[in-house]
């Protein structure tokens, strides 16, 4: 437990020192959202219609892009090696890294999302659904994505590959995440949707760390 907290503290400190790591995914999120009115139409009725989908796809891509560098630095400077030769568990490290990754990506994206929802004319009653679905859905994205990041960290050209590996696995989260917002727009109860997103989170929280640790172990052994 101490080690988990120490990992999170260290990761957050590192992110705070290289602030671009925090800002880049957020900026990406905003810019992608800004592309749609330009590409589709600035009309409120059109944008409001596609807003749930766009917001979720953009949040998903922002998470995915930030995942690419999740283990890269640690792999290159030998930090991962040091953890492998220490008596500390790689499993706890993986969990800690994912939690801190979520705090600086998904969590902040969720906090930023109401603003973008308003820019896309998302009805105010759906804002709650948007924030809560992102809060419950993005940790799953970080967990699943970290498996892909772990598998590709030792490869020279991992960037494109990680999207290829991870995007198909993201689809259930996307379906229910965007579905939550859609239901919010229509004024339907969203409890059921959130329960499913929560169930996915619990499942991935139980299984993904093992896969992440196994992937890292195999990448370090080369």
């Amino acid at each position: 437990m101490n080690f988990l907290l120490a990992t999170i503290r260290r990761e957050l400190l590192l992110a705070f020192r290289n602030r671009s790591e925090i800002i880049n995914p957020l900026a990406f999120f905003v810019i992608v959202i800004a592309l749609f009115p330009l590409a589709v139409s600035p009309e409120a009725s059109v944008l409001a219609n596609i807003a749930p989908g766009i917001l979720w796809v953009a949040a998903l891509l922002a998470t995915l892009l930030s995942l690419e560098s999740l283990f890269k630095q640690d792999f290159e400077d030998g930090s991962l090696e040091q953890i492998m030769v220490s008596p500390q568990s790689l499993l706890l490290l993986s969990i800690g890294k994912v939690i801190s990754h979520w705090l600086i990506s998904g969590f902040l994206l969720a906090l930023l999302s109401p603003l973008l929802g308003i820019m896309l004319f998302l009805p105010p009653i759906a804002i709650g659904a948007l924030v809560s679905s992102l809060l419950l859905g993005t940790p799953t994205l970080s967990l699943i994505g970290a498996i892909g990041a772990g598998l590709t960290v030792g490869l020279r050209k991992g960037g494109m590959l990680i999207s290829l590996l991870v995007l198909p696995l993201y689809m259930p989260v996307l379906i229910f995440g965007a579905g939550t917002v859609q239901a919010g727009v229509m004024g339907l109860p969203i409890g059921g949707y959130l329960a499913i997103l929560g169930a996915m989170l619990v499942l991935s929280l139980m299984l993904a760390p093992f896969a992440i640790a196994a992937a890292l172990r195999l990448s370090i052994r080369g």
């Binding site: 101490n2 020192r17 090696e81 040091q82």
Partner: protein
């Protein structure tokens, strides 16, 4: 303390070494020699459990390492080519993280260790602002904190100046006289007055 039986390692369809047998007693320093690509780093990585594609057995205090990996890992300290130093953290923060990883890094205080490697006054400077030699010394500062019985060091003297090398040599000998073991690779001629030093050449 450490004994290696019939170790063989193959990489990319090439036999790096075969039938490698040696044992290391308390207070001994083992220098592994060989040309580039002879498998020195691979051997060290096998010895600290980072590589698993090998045949043969490694015993630590008469127990097979693979059965008792966590106790073994608790008693070794490995410093590789990349010592795991974050350039955006300060020397002190880096060493504090090392202490989180290795509970046996508890000899003396961090500031003493930094003083010994000549980084007194640099505690709160992020590592990217240090020179290559200074960064290397941050990586090696953990040796002054270590209570680990076995040190495994891959080219510990690169990028160090003459004085730094001398100090590290002294430190290694001191570790051995206090009952520790050291396994290292280096191109540097490592002359020791006493009988502690043993050499293995992987080219033969």
């Amino acid at each position: 303390m450490l004994s290696v039986l019939n170790l063989a390692c193959e990489r990319d369809n090439r036999m790096l070494f075969n039938q490698l047998n040696f044992s290391l007693a308390v207070g001994e320093i083992l220098q592994i020699e060989g040309q580039n690509g002879s498998g020195k780093t691979s051997l060290l990585r096998i010895l600290c459990g980072l590589a698993t594609s090998f045949e043969g057995e490694i015993h630590w205090q008469d127990l097979n390492v693979q059965d008792k990996l966590s106790t073994y890992l608790a008693s070794i300290l490995y410093v590789g080519h990349h010592p795991g130093i974050k350039s955006s953290l300060t020397a002190e923060e880096n060493l504090r993280w090392m202490q989180q990883l290795h509970p046996h890094l508890n000899k003396g205080s961090i500031s003493e260790a930094l003083q010994k490697v000549g980084l007194y006054g640099y505690e709160d400077v992020p590592c990217y602002a240090l020179s290559a030699g200074q960064q290397r010394r941050v990586g090696l500062a953990r040796l002054y904190l270590s209570n680990h019985p076995l040190w495994i060091l891959d080219e510990p003297f690169t990028a160090l100046d003459k004085r730094g090398v001398m100090e590290k040599e002294q430190l290694i000998v001191e570790h051995a006289t206090q009952g520790g073991c050291v396994i290292l690779t280096t191109h540097h001629d490592f002359e020791l007055p006493d009988q502690r030093l043993r050499k293995i050449n992987l080219d033969q």
